[in-house]
């Protein structure tokens, strides 16, 4: 197919789930399960369209389509550009693929709900995924804002999906307040950029934003970063994240944690690496600080949680921090590692949330202190959970090992040893937190048997199985993934001029950078294995003597007050803006 024909497929990949969202509540009248089946079809259709574009894009082409044929005239674009670069397409493929797996899982877990509930649920899920795919493929700042809001509106609905549960309502209010503020930030940032440069297109903005910037540009940069950091759940913008994940049903938490937070990462990446790179700003330094802070704070908070889903949610804060650190290293290995880790995080965190959802659904227990002995009751589930934990921990055959190793070498390549050391500390605490969870839920003996035990239904087994298999697959074939996915993505991110020229010209090629990953590097193996050992020792200490005192301070800061969470986010915004402007 020609480039133009491929480009015209891109809007369809977004339109399919949008159309499905409109149809879902209607077909629910025919049969309660029909809306979920429809969403499965639309998501697989969207996935198929994206796969059709994939070979060309991962081969280095940037496939561009201007909606309505409004192509740029003399270098200035008024029409909305949809552009598939390897980074955006990776995220779009992940969204459609994992979205389909999650719908399949929901079909067998929540399939017993009434037609109204299932119709609404299917509509919201498809709306959220359409927002994510749209945001990944767009090359226009205000379009990005619109997809951000589409995803946000759907996420409000999904957080408060079980309206009869008071915690769900509380969580919905928190996510509403913080995401609305984030939306204002993104909106004002995009508007300010348009006002000073008369441009919305990434390509045009990047060509204009060179040399010393005006203060309006710096203000816009701060606003955009803060807005997307809220969506990504980076410290100190993360107040909503743990609550929203705790209250939502299992597949929804997986959707939020595996996919939705990555919308923030996509926004941050576009702004920091593709729109503003030519200008001399301390944006990478800011991202490094925020990323390391998130990695550490998230891991410490995860270490002391008693609620399994809340523990996983705080681990998401930590993992998003790790991805941000990789991006902020701006080295080929670090950025490729960040993209790789983004894929891995989507896989293993969805897997873990599905396992947690299955446990909550089957035993009715949400607290780790009341679980135990699950390894004997559900060996299959224990294996799946173990795969997820080993992946996060970076144990060699699993996928986390590769991406963490790449991020580490990105940091050492650029000589940033302080973030490297802090990242290792965060990794150690993360391992401790998850092995503590695995011990308490699965391995610790439990005196009495569970009241109701039921085997996993086929759809749930398939969903969990696909995700666990992918975790292993992405761990054992690093050279394939690097060559065909992560390296092209990093090339487009690190050579922004080629990407932005391609957008304005309607097509273009990005030169490929190559990174190497040595699987049997003794230093990296030693780091991985020693952090696992130290992490398990730390988990033992926490189980015996209680958590260290630092964590009390952090827990007290998370006091559940929505005013305070908003205040943290606003002080973060002020700090970020001040760093750029002073």
């Amino acid at each position: 197919m020609t480039q133009a024909a491929l480009g015209s497929l891109l809007p369809l990949a977004v339109a399919a789930p949008l159309a499905g969202a409109a149809v879902a509540p209607l077909v629910a009248r025919l049969s309660p399960r029909l809306p979920l089946l429809t969403s499965l079809v639309t998501l697989l259709g969207s996935l198929g369209l994206l796969i059709a574009v994939a070979p060309s894009v991962f081969g280095g082409q940037v496939v561009v389509h201007y909606l309505g044929g409004w192509r740029p005239v003399r270098g200035s674009a008024l029409g909305i550009a949809v552009a598939a670069d390897p980074f955006g397409l990776t995220f779009a493929l992940l969204s459609a693929g994992i979205g389909a797996v999650l719908v399949l899982y929901t079909l067998s877990e929540l399939g017993g709900l009434g037609p109204r509930e299932l119709g609404g649920y299917a509509a919201l899920v498809q709306l959220l995924l359409a927002g994510l795919i749209g945001a990944a493929l767009t090359a226009d700042t205000v379009d990005l804002f619109v997809w951000f809001e589409v995803a946000a509106l759907a996420s409000y609905g999904l957080t408060g999906f079980f309206l009869e549960r008071p915690p769900a309502l509380e969580a919905a209010f928190k996510i509403l307040v913080l995401t609305t503020i984030a939306g204002f930030c993104v909106f004002m940032g995009a508007g300010l950029l348009y006002n000073t440069h008369g441009a919305l297109n990434y390509g045009q903005l990047a060509q204009d934003l060179t040399g010393p910037l005006q203060s309006a540009d710096l203000l816009a940069l701060g606003l955009l970063l803060a807005g997307f950091a809220t969506k990504a759940g980076l410290v100190p913008f993360h107040g909503w994240l743990a609550d929203a994940h705790t209250a939502a049903p299992g597949p929804v938490s997986a959707l939020f944690s595996g996919l939705m937070v990555n919308l923030g990462i996509v926004g941050i990446t576009r702004v920091a690496l593709q729109i503003y790179p030519a200008a001399d700003t301390p944006v990478l330094g800011v991202l490094m600080v925020v990323g390391v802070a998130s990695a550490l704070a998230g891991a410490c908070l995860a270490l002391v949680q008693d609620d399994l889903k809340r523990l996983l949610a705080y681990d998401t804060v930590s993992q998003v921090g790790v991805i941000t650190v990789g991006l902020a290293s701006a080295q080929p290995a670090g950025v490729a590692g960040a993209v790789y880790h983004l894929i891995n995080h989507a896989l293993f965190k969805s897997l873990l949330f599905l396992c947690a959802g299955a446990i909550v659904h089957r035993t009715g227990q949400t607290l780790l202190s009341q679980m135990g002995g699950l390894a004997r009751t559900w060996p299959g589930l224990a294996v799946a959970f173990g795969v997820g934990v080993a992946s996060i921990a970076g144990v060699p055959p699993f996928n986390g090992y590769v991406s963490l190793g790449l991020i580490h070498s990105g940091l050492t390549d650029s000589g940033q040893y302080v973030p490297y050391a802090l990242l290792l500390a965060a990794q150690l605490i993360t391992i401790a937190a998850l092995s503590r969870a695995a011990w308490l839920a699965f391995l610790k003996p439990r005196a009495e048997d569970y009241e109701h035990r039921e085997l996993l239904r086929p759809g749930m087994q398939v969903g969990v199985g696909i995700l666990a298999a992918s975790c292993v697959l992405f761990g054992v074939a690093p050279s394939y993934v690097l060559e065909h996915i992560a390296d092209p993505a990093a090339s487009a991110l690190l050579q922004p001029a080629q990407y932005t020229t391609a957008i304005l010209q309607g097509a273009g090629h990005v030169m490929q950078l190559r990174t190497e990953f040595d699987y049997a590097d003794p230093a990296e193996l030693a780091v991985a294995l020693s952090s696992v050992v130290l992490g398990i020792l730390l988990a033992r200490r926490v189980l015996r003597h209680g958590p260290p005192r630092v964590t009390d301070l952090l827990r007290r800061a998370h006091n559940g007050s929505v005013n305070d969470y908003a205040a943290y986010a606003i002080s973060g915004l002020i700090a970020v803006v001040a760093t750029f402007m002073l």
Binding site: L169, V177, N563
Partner: protein, 122 residues
């Protein structure tokens, strides 16, 4: 004087933010967020303003002028005004979701005090 608009937008934004940060009543917080939203509309409309410009409507031009002349001449920026429309539509939807959540919270908890709705913490 357009500077007044910018000052008013900043004042409205800060007023809304102050409400969100200091009021514990959920309805008041929603009102604060609405104020912040309104301030962005004012900011955008003010940014679209050009001194002495006409509305960016090219249909039925005044006598003796063609649409092309109008477009090349002094008109307010239609793109920013468009953003405002988009944002208003989104804002209405968000406020509706906000208020329905608040109503549900009030039904369940019999309170609107954000300090009493802190089950999820730590």
């Amino acid at each position: 004087m357009i500077a007044v608009n910018y000052l008013a937008a900043a004042a409205l934004f800060c007023l809304g933010l102050y409400t969100v940060l200091t009021r514990r009543n959920l309805i008041k917080m929603v009102m604060g967020l609405s104020l912040m939203e309104t301030s962005t509309y004012l900011l955008f409309i003010s940014m679209a303003y050009r001194s002495g410009s006409t509305a960016p409507v090219l249909l039925n031009p005044p006598k003796g002028q063609s649409p092309e002349q109008l477009a090349a001449g002094n008109v307010a920026d239609p793109v920013l005004q468009n953003f405002c429309l988009t944002a208003i539509v989104i804002g209405v939807a968000v406020t509706a979701v906000f208020l329905s959540v608040v109503v549900r919270i009030a039904q369940h908890r019999r309170t609107l005090d954000a300090d009493c709705i802190r089950e999820l913490r730590g």
